[in-house]
């Protein structure tokens, strides 16, 4: 059985960051991803990131992805694509499969960066052709250059919903409306401003009731909700659309972490159920680290730096970095992450993360 110093599951920003940092320090690294392309959602992002220079401000998502792949190649990371890790056994053996083989391998350290699943909604007609998720819309428009339809309604005004709406416009579609169940837009003002300037109405306190159509989506029934998200009768409206794009948040993909025996926890603002973890991404399972959306839904930049932190942690534990080197690297990365968890949006994530860290330390018996 082939053995590695580090096995990383998931080649999105978090997994790439982890693989790059441990590989750069000299670890033998396997980076497995079930998709046929690495980069996770990065290659679907055609917009420029903003923030500071350290966070690739001004660079488009797919370009960040390309830079990371080059870094991973220089760090001698073995990337296996179309490879799904389907099991982790009690003795630490990792089982994975491709189209035509199932194989086992073992790593001294396991870094799980399995990302997230898109949340869904239940309403009559939710499986009609034309009803898609935001991720599917981005795959079609940005990767495959296929327009999903001609006129869309988008559900959810978080950053993903706002960005996808703009990208549908760029692809030449009309966006009839963005629906938001909350009384205000939940994404960044900069993204909301872009779609509003383009003339897209954002209907707050609105939800989707029904998707209608004979063989495919023809119209969407929407209605207003009150502060408790209860339907206000008599407010129903019908909007003509052939595309209904659902963008209502993400859920960490925690299955593999649970299989390892990691103690799980719940945190609504971070996406729901997730593995308990420390500031340096340790779980309650020795030698198993987590990073990125799996450890709480944030953004690509945070995921990347969390991955780097996990990679440094593993490399230091393997004796490939001196205590001084790893402390220096960790400080540097942690200060970048802290910068991303500031402001009205970041602060909430920081507080949630602190709760998780504190519960991790309680569980491990150390207190904080």
């Amino acid at each position: 059985m082939k053995t590695y110093d580090v096995i990383v599951v998931g080649a999105g920003p978090a997994g790439l960051g982890a693989a790059i940092e441990s590989g750069k320090a000299g670890a033998s690294v396997l980076l497995a991803d079930e998709n046929d392309q690495p980069g996770g959602q990065l290659f679907k992002q055609i917009h420029k990131f903003f923030g500071s220079h350290d966070h690739y401000a001004g660079t488009r998502g797919f370009q960040i992805g390309q830079q990371l792949l080059e870094e991973a190649a220089r760090a001698h990371v073995e990337i296996r694509l179309s490879t799904r890790v389907w099991g982790i056994f009690e003795d630490g053996t990792v089982s994975a499969c491709t189209e035509d083989e199932s194989f086992r391998c073992r790593g001294t350290w396991l870094i799980l960066a399995t990302g997230a699943t898109e949340n869904s909604l239940v309403f009559p007609g939710n499986t009609l052709p034309g009803v898609i998720t935001a991720g599917a819309a981005q795959t079609m428009v940005n990767l495959r250059h296929v327009r999903p339809g001609s006129r869309a309604v988008v559900v959810g005004s978080g950053n993903v919903g706002l960005i996808v709406s703009y990208q549908l416009l760029q692809a030449g579609m009309d966006v009839a409306a963005i629906l938001e169940a909350a009384p205000q837009v939940t994404g960044y003002a900069v993204h909301a401003g872009k779609v509003r300037r383009a003339g897209v109405p954002v209907l707050c306190s609105h939800t989707v009731l029904e998707a209608r159509g004979e063989r495919e989506l023809e119209e969407v029934v929407v209605a207003q909700v009150d502060g408790q998200f209860r339907l206000i009768p008599g407010t129903e409206e019908v909007i003509q659309a052939d595309t209904l794009c659902i963008s209502v948040g993400l859920t960490p993909r925690w299955e593999l972490a649970a299989l390892c025996g990691c103690k799980m926890d719940f945190c609504g603002p971070l996406g729901g159920r997730l593995p308990l973890h420390s500031e340096t991404l340790e779980t309650t399972c020795p030698h198993v680290l987590v990073a990125g959306d799996l450890s709480g839904i944030e953004e690509a930049s945070t995921a990347l730096d969390e991955g780097r932190l996990a990679g440094v942690h593993a490399a230091a534990a393997l004796g490939l970095l001196s205590t001084a080197e790893s402390a220096e690297r960790e400080r540097e990365i942690q200060s970048r992450i802290a910068a991303l968890r500031q402001g009205a949006f970041g602060r909430k994530r920081q507080t949630s993360k602190e709760q998780i860290w504190s519960r991790y330390h309680q569980h491990q018996g150390g207190g904080l």
Binding site: W86, N119, V122, G125, R212, A258, G272
Partner: protein, 94 residues
């Protein structure tokens, strides 16, 4: 226009009505709902519907959402053909 079904588990085509009926019949865990309705037993192994079923459990019983989300996970965590495992039962010794 005919009103379409509201599907919770699209892999196994389980509707919202069927899930609510199961909860009313006393199934207030993901596993219990799964055993009665097959929700979560399909191709995606509950990745999409798990959260929706838990939301319905919390709405139609006194089990809170976070508790309702707790369910068992078994290998394989994704779809995998038995033939593939059989062919490499010993695992490819690389």
């Amino acid at each position: 226009m005919e009103r379409k079904n509201a599907y919770v588990c699209r892999c196994e085509e389980v509707t919202q009505e069927e899930i609510i009926a199961a909860i009313r019949a006393g199934d207030t865990t993901l596993d219990a709902v799964k055993r009665r309705t097959r929700a979560g037993m399909g191709f995606c192994q509950g990745r999409t519907c798990r959260r929706l079923v838990a939301q319905l459990i919390s709405a139609y019983s006194d089990v809170p959402f976070d508790t309702a989300l707790e369910g068992s996970v078994r290998m394989p965590v994704g779809p995998l053909s038995l033939g593939l495992i059989a062919d490499t039962a010993g695992g490819t010794e690389e």
